[in-house]
């Protein structure tokens, strides 16, 4: 289980996170939602150790990740898979080399086993046969799927996803959401997704944390979100006329 306690993060004079605490449920899709600039991505980067919190702690299975040095974090990081907003595929490597890369560094698998694993991961994200393509030859949706394939190549216990639907058409966005949700169920990963897409929230949000202006304002499930009386959350969720109309029908 991942637990964060009283996380503060400051950049110069700008206090981005102001004492955020939460538990992320194992085997579920945990969504961090909020408007642009609310601190979602900063919180995600604090959880995975790309940013060091100014104050507060991050625990992976009761182990204090924040206090660990580089070497101490490596065993936990080997259990982490992450899909970045822009996929962050290695430009100089083919799709297959991208997926095999962590296997090369951290496993003793033979070359044939690694290729088999890459093929399995690619098949899982419906990109069978795209092994030899370079990231520049892929569409945005395909890059995301290769990013997911790379993230699951080491069979992670924790999956972090930053804005999975940004820059994608609605149909592809739903496919990516479904894929992430299926992987969470299949591997029983603790999945943490940062998003502001309400389709994702309503579709796959098992556990939702709402941030605004660096503070956690609300926590609950996608079934509860439509009936909350939290003013800040309502302003975010029902910002569009479409959502307002949907609420009136509920």
């Amino acid at each position: 289980m991942i637990e964060i306690k009283n996380i503060y993060k400051t950049f110069g004079d700008n206090e981005v996170l102001r004492g955020v605490s939460a538990n992320f449920k194992p085997g579920k899709n945990n969504l961090i939602i909020g408007s642009s600039g609310s601190g979602k991505t900063t919180l995600l980067k604090c959880i995975v150790g790309l940013h060091e919190p100014t104050k507060g702690e991050v625990y992976y299975d009761q182990e204090n990740f924040t206090e660990m040095h580089f070497e101490g974090r490596v065993p936990i990081r080997k259990q982490i898979g992450m899909l970045f907003q822009n996929s962050a595929l290695f430009d100089s490597m083919t799709v297959e080399q991208n997926i095999i890369f962590p296997l090369n560094l951290f496993t003793e698998m033979s070359k044939a086993e690694k290729v088999d694993r890459a093929n399995f991961c690619l098949e899982r994200v419906n990109l069978k046969g795209k092994n030899k393509l370079y990231p520049s030859e892929l569409s945005g949706g395909m890059k995301k799927r290769v990013g997911i394939a790379r993230a699951i190549s080491m069979q992670p216990r924790y999956l972090f996803v930053d804005e999975p639907n940004s820059g994608l058409d609605p149909k592809t966005a739903i496919l990516i959401d479904e894929l992430i949700s299926e992987i969470t169920d299949e591997y029983q990963t603790t999945t943490v997704i940062v998003t502001h897409d309400m389709n994702s929230v309503m579709g796959i949000g098992d556990h939702i944390i709402f941030l605004d202006n660096g503070l956690k304002w609300w926590e609950g499930s996608n079934h509860e979100i439509a009936h909350t009386d939290n003013k800040e959350l309502n302003q975010f969720v029902f910002a569009s006329k479409f959502m307002q109309a949907a609420r009136e029908k509920l």
């Binding site: 580089f70 490596v74 992450m82 560094l105």
Partner: protein, 233 residues
């Protein structure tokens, strides 16, 4: 950054592959430009030395000696290093800088990879081996360029030139050249890696990092050149 770069690798074979790739990129990739520059510098150095020194009281073989010493001591190491700062340094800074702004370095760190070690140490190891090799080739081609210049002009015969090259040789100049070559290789790769690794922003900042990398490398090379010359000669 240097301390992080030389931590124990996660897997030696993966790092070794990267070192080999960098050696091909830096060494073979720069051979063309280094060859052309060296031939011309050797030829021009010979012509200009001959123009200034040819008289009845100075033996013509002096042109060969001066060309040899100036090529080994200064022209080949320093000018080659300045050119390589542009060729290799800008490539390193922009490559690492682009990886930084597109979150590829973050992806490495998330996987548990020591990103400075994986990205920077192969470049530095390659730099301190391939740049000295390029400078040795540059010395040879510079001297050949001088030979061609003599063959093409009537001022100094090729026999006088070779006589000058082989006479009165002081081995310390080779040591100075070797020390400079290794130091310049380290400066180019480490300074440009640093500039790339700590880039933040977007495409504009990557360009600025590459420019800073080349400028800082060139200035540091000139300072190092002065210090090494002062200490060793």
């Amino acid at each position: 950054m240097l301390r992080l770069s030389f931590r124990k690798p996660e897997k030696f074979s993966v790092y070794w592959t990267e070192v080999m790739r960098e050696m091909v990129s830096q060494g073979i990739g720069s051979l063309g430009i280094v060859s052309i520059i060296s031939l011309f510098i050797g030829a021009v150095a010979t012509i200009q030395t001959a123009f200034q020194l040819i008289s009845d009281i100075i033996p013509r073989s002096v042109v060969g000696s001066i060309t040899r010493d100036s090529t080994i001591l200064e022209f080949s190491p320093t000018i080659t290093a300045l050119v390589l700062a542009g060729r290799i340094g800008s490539s390193i800074a922009s490559q690492i800088g682009t990886m930084r702004v597109t979150e590829q370095i973050d992806a490495l760190e998330i996987m548990g990879v020591n990103a400075p070690g994986y990205l920077i140490s192969p470049k530095i190891i390659s730099g301190v081996t391939m740049i000295p090799l390029l400078i040795i080739i540059s010395v040879g081609l510079g001297l050949i360029g001088g030979y061609f210049a003599c063959a093409a002009s009537a001022d100094v015969s090729t026999a006088d030139y070779i006589d000058g090259l082989t006479g009165g040789f002081n081995p310390v100049i080779v040591s100075v050249c070797a020390v400079k070559a290794i130091a310049f290789g380290f400066i180019i790769t480490s300074v440009c890696s640093y500039q790339g690794f700590y880039t933040s922003g977007g495409a504009l900042e990557v360009g600025q990092a590459a420019t800073r990398g080349v400028v800082f490398s060139c200035v540091t090379i000139l300072f190092a050149d002065l210090i090494i010359s002062k200490l060793m000669l």
